[in-house]
Amino acid sequence: MISKKTAFFFLLPALVLIFIFLIFPAFWTLYYSLTDYSLLGASTEFIGVQNFINLFTSARFWNATILSFEFVFFSAIIGQAGVGLLLAMLFHRKSGWLKKLVRNLAVASWLIPAVVVAYAWAAFLDKEYGLLNQIIGIFGFTGIDWLNEVPMGSIIIFNIWRGAAFSMLLFTSALKTIPPSHFETADVVGASLWDKIKDIVLPQLKTFIGSDLALITLWTFNLFTPFLLTGGGPGRQTEILPIYTYFKAFKYMEFGLGAAISAVILFINLTLALVYLNYLKAE
């Protein structure tokens, strides 16, 4: 039996690393959010909550916040979790090449590095040479400039495609915990797919769905990859919070304000995490 002291000793290196690289920078960021630190500022001064006042009175900040919630709701909660669950259900208790193909493609889309995926999508959606418009052209329609005309829709679809695999894998394992007899009984009485989801899957997978939503919500909230597709534009139509932070902190080099936005994101993330955790606890 290892004593608590020894255990702590073994954990110490990890704790030190976590402190140096995660906790300390987080507090450092909170400190910076109270200053006017900028790349070209002659001196850095403590300005209290002025950055936050500036943020909360800025139309651009609210635009970014609303877009972020839209993006998370449609691409993660509805999209990734929904598509993941649907795929998992369709192939539950089935085998064959189609299942393997779809699973492998879904996992591949999740494994490829984000930058590669983003460029592949930019090529796919290109107005003149993109595959999507070529396909549409075969059917006699004229393609549109997707990233410019439906920018939010494009990055939402992109993120669903990108992330559905994770939810699918999680739900595939989760479905195995449901006794097969439940599905067999359902088949005997002729229940539809929707009936099965509603009456068997959802009630029994509540906690799995909760964990899945908690993870993908936080990931999506912090996702920066859409920048590689739209650059936050056109105009400010896809300027979600991470992109807005990037502009303030690294394009205009206002680190203090950038830190303040990061602090707000941190606060939103913590709130969401707490909500999910409470839900899971209650279950």
């Binding site: 790349l39 800025s58 139309a59 739209t230 534009g233 056109p234 105009g235 400010r236 205009y252 080099m253």
Partner: protein
């Protein structure tokens, strides 16, 4: 015997090594950084450094008994990125000895303590005979609070470029020498183009933050000066938040992009907006574009990235008219605005004296004559170069534009807050071209302005009813 030979050889090798190390220490290296890359962005500038400046300066110094190496650091990135790179270099006390520098960064850099005046590099800096040859106005673009910080390459001016071929097809009067006298005439021409050539975008006046400073200079200022307005009121010593002139400027944007679709707003706010605009102009999809002389010399030059082979015959230019004759800034009929780039020595240099020598060589008659050959600019900094360079006399465009527009041109306010205000101006135009009502957008701008410069430094002027 063999033993001796080995010892002798090692000794020789040792001496040789030490000698070469000593030599390497003796020859100082100077670095020059520019936002350009061979065969890409600002390729002519890099070619000038590599083919002329480096060998010639090394030769000249060798003749004076001073060995020196000059190295060129190439970048080729968007200007904001270049700026953050040099700031980080300078804050760390490192980086190139001479920096290619946009003049409008000066006040910000000096206030941040990143630059030192020329006397830091040489106490006799003002005795340099080259100063007499510099046009005072251009020279002083590198002056801030009484100190001189570098040398200007030259200056530029802004105007409307138009495609004569498209004008001819649309049946515009005097398509070969078109010149509008008011916004009304400019808009009427655009309307006619739209009617006759529905596939062509009649007029692009830069807007939006994707265009960066090109929006403020080539778009907003060119319209705003035509109303007699300025973003900084020198007399009051305040930034202008709301004014009738500003509203009129925004109404022009609204007419062009929202009400009548005379311009393509999507192109303005798209990612890579500027590159897309250049490409569209090259492909004859834009009839009129407000741009600077850099556009002519570096973008649509037949050999440049978006080159137009028949540029000289096909592309014409017109001065930007005031809203109505006489309503422009200083009561002018036509307006323009100038900026420019130059070189500053970095205080981080290990060789202040040599850096100053290199700077002087760049700014010398022979240096500037060679520069003009590689990179013809509309308004050069030196009088003797302007008089003697074959480029100015041979080149009809450069020979006429500079003299015609320099007298009506003006400058950006040389204040520390300017770059931040400029970003807000870009966002202001972006809001209007994407559909926000001008009054509402101006309201937002005024608020954001107060956050940057302080409530007490903002003037909100009464509007006409």
């Amino acid at each position: 015997m063999k033993k001796y030979l080995v010892v002798l050889l090692s000794a020789l090798l040792g001496i040789g090594l030490m000698a070469s190390m000593a030599m390497a220490q003796d020859v100082p290296t100077l670095e020059i950084i520019a936002n350009g890359v061979e065969g890409g962005k600002n390729a002519q500038e890099i070619a000038y450094y590599k083919e002329f400046l480096v060998p010639e300066f090394e030769k000249k110094m060798a003749e004076q008994g001073q060995e020196v190496n000059v190295e060129v650091i190439e970048t080729g990135v968007p200007d904001e990125r270049f700026k953050s790179r040099i700031v980080m270099d300078m804050k760390a006390g490192r980086g190139a000895d001479i920096i290619g520098f946009d003049q409008f960064w000066l006040s910000e850099f000096v206030e941040a303590g990143l630059l030192k005046p020329l006397q830091y590099f040489d106490s006799n800096w003002d005795k340099w005979e080259g100063w007499d040859q510099y046009y005072t106005g251009i020279k002083n673009m590198m002056k801030f609070k009484g100190n001189m910080y570098g040398l200007m390459k030259g200056s530029d001016v802004r105007m409307i470029y138009y495609n004569k071929q498209l004008f001819r097809e649309a049946g515009i009067d005097k398509w070969w020498a078109w010149q509008p006298d008011s916004w009304q005439e400019l808009l009427d021409t655009a309307r006619k183009l739209k009617e006759e050539l529905p596939d062509v975008t009649p007029l692009q006046l830069n807007a939006g933050s994707k265009m960066g400073e090109a929006t403020t200079m080539q778009g907003f200022y060119m319209a705003h000066l035509g109303t007699g307005g300025r973003i900084y009121d020198q007399g009051l010593g305040k930034w202008v938040g709301k004014s009738q002139d500003l509203l009129d400027t925004l109404e022009l944007y609204k007419t062009i992009y929202v009400d009548e679709n005379l311009g393509d707003a999507d192109m303005q706010v798209a990612a890579k907006a500027r590159e897309k605009t250049f490409e569209a102009f090259q492909n004859e999809e834009i009839a009129m574009l407000v741009e600077g002389t850099w556009f002519w010399t570096d973008v649509i030059d037949p050999d440049a990235a978006w080159g137009i082979r028949t540029r000289d015959a096909q592309i014409g230019w017109a001065a930007m008219p005031a809203k109505n004759p006489g309503e422009g800034i200083n009561g002018q009929d036509f307006v323009s605005i100038s900026g420019g780039t130059g070189w500053v020595p970095s205080p981080a240099t290990d060789h202040p004296q040599l850096t100053w020598e290199l700077l002087k060589f760049i700014g010398s008659y022979e240096g500037k004559m060679a520069y003009m050959d590689y990179k013809p600019g509309a308004v050069t900094a030196r009088k003797d170069v302007a008089q003697n360079s074959p480029v100015t006399s041979e080149n009809f465009f450069l020979g006429t534009v500079g003299p015609a527009l320099a007298p009506v041109s003006t400058y950006r306010p040389g204040l520390e807050e300017y770059p931040k205000v400029s970003v807000e101006v870009q966002l202001l135009t972006e809001e209007v071209v994407t559909g926000t009502a001008p009054k509402k957008a101006m309201e937002n701008y005024s608020k954001e302005l107060a956050k940057i410069v302080g409530e007490d430094k903002v003037a909100n002027k009464p509007l006409e009813e």
